[in-house]
Structure formats: C-alpha cells, structure tokens
Amino acid sequence: MNLRHAKIACFFAALIPPLLLGWRAIHGGLGANPIEVVTHSTGQWTIIFLLLTLSVTPLRRLARQYWLIGLRRMVGLFAFFYATLHFATYVWLDKFFDVHEIVKDIYKRPFITVGFAAFTLLVPLALSSTAWSIRKLGGKNWQRLHRLIYLSAILGVIHFIWLVKADKRQPCAYGFVLTVLLSYRVWMWFSTRKERQLAGPAPRPAGLGRI
C-alpha cells in the first residue's frame, strides 16, 4: 500500500464517526438526549484524534514506519475538525449563539475556560498546516509553533476531567495515554541531548575562537 492509498483510507476512516452519528440521528438512535450525545461524542473524538496525532512520531520511530509522517497532517486536521464540531455544538445547540452567556461561561467556568483555550490553540496550527506555511515560517519555527499541540492536548484532557461528576476513569485513561506519549518526547529529548554532549561541542566556524 503506498502513501496515497493510506491517505485515502485514513480520510474515509476518520469520517466514520460523524457519519455514524448522523445516521443514528436520522434514525432516532441517539437516545433521550441527542444533543448531549453529540457534544460528548465530538469532544471525545477530538481527544482521540489529538492522541492519534501525537502517536505518529513515536510509532514511526519505534516501528520504523517512517512513511507514517505522511499521515500526520491529515490526522491533526481531523482533530481540529472534531474540535470545531464540538465547539459548534456548544455555541449552537447548547448556548444557541448567546454570546453574552458564552463569554460569561468562558470567564466563569474553569472547565470551559480550559476547553476553549485548548480549541483556540489548535486554530493557528490548522491555519499553518500548509506546505506554504512551513516554507514561510521555516522548519524550526514551524516545529516550535506546532509544539502547541502538547499544551492543547493537556488542556483538552483537563477539560474532560473537570467536567465529569464522579467517575473519572475515562478522562484519566486519556490522561494516561497522553502522559505516555509526552514522556516519550521528554525521554527522546534527554537521550538526544546526551548524544549531543557525547559527540562534543559542535564545530565552531573559524574565526570565532575567542569572544
């Protein structure tokens, strides 16, 4: 399977949840409180796709499946897609475009504050997902900017933990997976730093011997 096929498969697989949700909505299968189901479902899929996005780097290194990087942008954009659906559900179905109430909510309710922050942080990442942006920003800067996904995912999980009434098992499971995925980054950072140190200081350009 080449990357093109993988991308097509990934694209359609990522659309299954909203299609199923839509199918259930049409057939009255969303139960007694459909709006709650849509809100929770889009929120959960946002976190799942954030975690999937963060899984790409460890997976391609550990499994030596380096081609996986070709899927990351799409998976990440789907995380944004679900976050947008989730936010739209809140703005439209929950608050019915009552801006005053939404602003009050964001200001007053910590779980909404962090959820809104997590969503807001994803906006620049989605906007700068094009090849043009990478060129314009330069690889290093682009990478720095896109580390915001770590913060967004952390805030997303906190948003979920703070919203639950008593049973925190599910948000904590997401939190555990996120911790593992972020620990991998920390571990990689330390181990490559060690390697850099072992290799000695980078060769200096001539003429800068003493400052």
Partner: protein, 319 residues
C-alpha cells in the same frame, strides 16, 4: 458490523509488539495500545443504540392527583433508558440493561432509628398502605436536563405516620440496596456505597414528597428505582433515593452521598434553584428532553408551595 468488530481487535494486532518492541520502548507502546483501545471503545459506543421496551405489570385503582402538571409527558422509553443510577453504571444509557437482573421480590424495608418500634416491612405491604395516585411531576436533574413523569405512589407522610417516629426524629434518611453482585456499579468506588439520602422531617411530611413504586400506570422498571423510591419534585433528582432498603429517623442531619463526594458542589438541601449555580455550570436553564431549545429553570422547579419550608434560610449557603 465492521465498526463493532474493530473493538475486538486485540491491541497486539494493531501494534505487533514482538516485532519491534524493546524493553525501553515498552511504555510508549503501552500508550499507543491504550490509544487504540480507547478508539475502539468510542467506536463501539457510537454503534450501539440498544432500545428495548419492557412491559411491567399494571397497577390497579390509580387515582388522579391535583398535584399533577398538564405539561407534555416525556416518552416512557426515554424515562426508562436515560437513567442516572450509579449503582449500575455511570453511563446513563446502561442501567436499562444492567438492572434487568435486579431481584425486587422478596424485598423488605427496615424502618429504625428514632421510632417507637423498629419495623421490617415487606414492600408489598408498604405499597398497600394507601391508595395509589398518579402524580405527573417535573423532574430536574442537577446536570441540567429535565423530564415530566407520571409517577405512581402516595405521599410519603402516609408511611411516616405509621412508623411512629419519636419526638427526637428531626430527619429521615433513605438507604439504597448495597449488593455489588446485583449492582455492578457498586464494584467501583465512584461514590461511597451504599447510597444515602435524606430529608428534614417537615420536608418529608410535605404532601408533594412521594413514596413511589410505579410510573406510567405500571410497576417501576428496575432502572428507575424499583421496587420503592422517593420522588421529590422540587429538589434535584439525586435527592430522590432509589431501591430503598432502609428508612431511618435521625436527630442529626444525614450526610448524603453526593455531599460526601463533593461538599462544595452538592449540599443537603439541593432545592432546584436557578439563582444558585453549580460551581461548574449554570442552573439558570435546563434542557427538557425532547425539546430543542433550553427553557428557564423555575425556583423550586415550579413547586412554590414548598417555599414556606425554607423561609428565612439563605439558599445560597444551604444549596
């Protein structure tokens, strides 16, 4: 079907660990497997609209009640398939199925504490103590949704009068069945089991307080609190204890389960009050199941006749 199967794929198939996992990479692998498993769970939830309709025994001789609202009733299927009943599951869609095997007969209720004589009553004796009434009540959950349910029962004060509480009885405490074998939710300590709720004596004596054993003209389905529960329409739903095995009269205010769980969020009184927010969300509006737009929440859930019980009390403090 394809989707349902995906949750059955072992995590080892998704990440063939033998082929690449070394010891130092185990943790990262565990994280990926976790992500895959969570994806599977979420997918299964999406594809699972299980709906069943149970036919319970009809209750004979039900009288009408002037306490009933003429608002549109929530469909039976919603009231019986959307249940906050943590003894079975914290997922509101699961008690309908998980409560199927609850044995509601024989069922006895212990009545003790500040009473002249401790009683052990059979539930069938209790339901026959007064003639059953249909009470169509609004029911408001602390989470912000509401339903209209035609409950069947009689005023709790009929039972209390027969219990002969002493003059020291200032409160009534209700205890739900504790049986993790029948109630799988109790195998996990999301709350401190058994579930305990309570009322001040004058609240319990108020005619609106209903001792309930049926709904929609039939015996209560298990997931709605069979065989015996209370219904307190002016309070948030969690105050209305379900599957009661013990009624205890006390001198001191009962320490109800949700208050134990989060004292800053759930108090003893838990009166429906649009002016006092839950610390994490507003209580000003509610979603009536079946309606698209939220409606404003009413003080005491619209049951103004109870306001006298709280005159002079600061309801912001006594939430």
């Amino acid at each position: 079907m394809l989707i349902r199967d995906s949750s059955d794929i072992a995590s080892s198939e998704i990440t063939p660990k033998e082929t690449f996992l070394s010891r130092r990479t185990f943790l990262a692998g565990a994280g990926l497997a976790g992500a895959a498993a969570l994806t599977g769970v979420a997918l299964r939830n999406l594809a699972d609209p299980a709906i069943t309709v149970s036919a319970n025994a009809k209750i004979e001789g039900i009288q009408k009640s002037s306490f009933s609202t003429n608002e549109q009733q929530t469909p039976y299927n919603d009231v019986s398939h959307y249940n906050n009943f943590y003894e079975f599951s914290t997922d509101k869609y699961e008690p309908a199925d998980l409560a199927k095997n609850l044995k509601t007969r024989p069922w006895t209720v212990v009545i003790d504490g500040e009473v002249k004589k401790k009683l052990v009553l059979d539930v069938d004796a209790i339901t026959k103590m007064a003639s059953p009434e249909e009470r169509i009540y609004r029911h408001r959950c602390v989470e912000g949704w509401s339903i209209v349910v035609p409950w069947v029962g009689y005023s709790l004060n009929n039972l209390i009068k027969r219990c002969d509480p002493t003059s020291k009885a200032k409160y009534v405490e209700f205890t739900t069945l504790l049986d993790p074998k029948q109630m799988p939710g109790q195998r996990i300590n999301v709350l401190k089991w058994p579930y305990v709720e309570g009322l001040r004596m004058d609240e319990a004596m108020h005619p609106l307080a209903l001792l309930c054993f049926g709904m929609y003209g039939e015996v209560l389905p298990n997931q709605d609190g069979a065989p015996l529960r209370v219904v307190l329409p002016w309070k948030y739903g969690f105050k209305s204890a379900k599957s009661i095995v013990r009624i205890r009269f006390t001198r001191d205010q009962p320490y109800n389960t949700w208050q134990q769980s989060a004292p800053a969020e759930y108090g003893f009184y838990a009166n429906v009050n649009p002016n006092v927010d839950h610390p994490r969300w507003s209580q000003a509006k509610e979603r009536r199941l079946g309606e698209f737009l939220k409606r404003p929440t009413l003080m005491f859930n619209g049951y103004d006749q109870v306001s006298g019980l709280y005159s002079g009390m600061d309801l912001k403090k006594n939430y």
